[in-house]
Symmetry: C2
Subunit: 294 residues, 2 copies
């Protein structure tokens, strides 16, 4: 490989940011830079935003990830953040893998045959077994999570807040079974639970249920609840909302959004709050009633 990372400082361990899509890898890179930490962004081709090129970076295909990271590790980069959206499960049956084969095909296939959670935990185990120390994006960019409290200007009616609590509780319940991490309640009734379709897909469904009269209310009502699964590895798999989530909740006719404090990432906090304010949705972070879990 060409390029090398900055000299190691005892008090600032070099960091590799393995970047998927979206803005979060850029937020992590900016936070690392502010902290004066030497780092390199390893952009996954077809996934990561081109803006990573503002930082020291490398582009790699899925098949080269393992080899590149091992080369980095040889230069004493042991801290690794896996961050950003992965648009689709990589097709490892067809993808060219590097001959070094440190990410051996059978191990990868095993990882990607499980649920979303097992995919990521598998990747963590694989890199940890190679001596990497996996950090969460929010451990580098602390602004990605929020403490309990109201985030926007819009207040919730008692009824909508009850829906938010019902949706949150339902999301927690299905999270315990590793099924999903979000739910929607309207008018005292849980109308949608997230499965493999994801939060955006679920919100589209609620919009369709409203359009066909299966879910009704006078004006915006109800709420999205989103939380982490009890045993979710927040270093690599933190539930995330952003401006698009708020827009989708508004399109679904909801009055607001309840997220778990400290355990749900808000990808673009300012933009998210601005959109919630302008669309008239409440946005609140709350602790999990069952007590915090790390």
């Amino acid at each position: 490989m060409d390029g090398s990372i900055a000299p190691v400082l005892a008090e600032a361990r070099p960091l590799a940011i393995l970047a998927g899509g979206g803005s979060v890898p850029l937020i992590v890179a900016a936070a690392a830079q502010r902290a004066g930490r030497p780092f390199i962004v390893v952009g996954i081709r077809g996934e990561a935003d081109r803006e990573i090129e503002a930082y020291r970076h490398r582009w790699v295909g899925w098949g080269e990830v393992g080899r590149l990271l091992l080369a980095l590790k040889a230069t004493r980069t042991e801290d690794l953040v896996l961050v950003g959206r992965i648009g689709s499960r990589p097709d490892y049956h067809g993808a060219p893998l590097d001959r070094g084969g440190v990410l051996a095909r059978p191990a990868i296939l095993r990882i990607f045959s499980g649920g979303d959670n097992s995919v990521l935990l598998g990747a963590v185990r694989l890199f940890e077994s190679r001596g990497f120390n996996i950090l969460g994006a929010h451990e580098i960019a602390r602004e990605l999570v929020v403490p309990a409290g109201w985030l926007g200007r819009v207040e919730a009616s008692p009824r909508d807040l009850r829906d938010g609590e019902a949706a949150f509780a339902a999301a927690k319940m299905i999270g315990r079974l590793d099924i999903g991490q979000a739910a929607v309640a309207v008018g005292g009734r849980v109308v949608a639970l997230e499965g493999a379709e994801g939060t955006d897909g679920m919100l589209e469904r609620v919009a369709a249920l409203r359009a066909t009269g299966r879910v009704t209310s006078h004006g915006p009502a109800g709420a999205l609840g989103k939380c982490a699964k009890p045993h979710q590895d927040l270093r690599v798999d933190m539930p995330t909302i952003g401006p698009e989530t708020i827009r989708a909740a508004a399109a679904a006719g909801l009055a607001g959004v309840v997220v778990e404090a400290g355990r749900v990432m808000i990808a673009e906090r300012e933009a998210t709050i601005r959109v919630a304010n302008s669309l008239g949705l409440f946005l609140v972070a709350r602790e999990d009633g069952d007590g915090a879990r790390a």
Copy 2:
């Protein structure tokens, strides 16, 4: 009203069948006829099948249901079956209600503002408060439910049967919260939970998740699980499958269907089994592991 029902026999109490859509009201009418029971089918206009006209019948709009039933009750018809699909929640804000107003507008609005379950329980309470004895369709036509056992010719692989168990358990769980009564598992993972979209809507979603690669398998795999909610009033609100459910499960790439024995209605049993056999889906009824209820 014109027409009157047959003379009352002490051993064969007259019966009114309030009929929504689909074939089940016809099955109930045929069973009542076989039993030599005097009965009238009250077809809800826009919902019930025209084939009810093969029996003594009346057509009524939503707003006339209450008045007609009270008139029937005056002729000593006290047993009532509420059966059949209701295509959409009646718009009571706009519908013409009968002046007698026995189904008073506020009571109806209250009923229809709740979840599906509360709608039906509300209707039951309303008719019971007027002295009707509500019977389940399966109490007249016992062939509508099935005991535990295999229904078709297709056997399940151990893996698909495990998916069926996982889907069944997930369906039970969300049923306890009055959210839904069905779920889908594929490859050891629950991928969809039923909300307000209903079982057919959920199966369409699984088909879409397969089409977009969010749910994958080599060939048909996984199963639909469907069961009654623990506190479901099976007289008026029995979960139902039929040939279309099997076709939808096949379109979703599933290998089979697991239903709860005695508590899920099979609307057209022979056709359902025939379709399952021809499409290669297994179909099995099982007891709720938590023990039978009501």
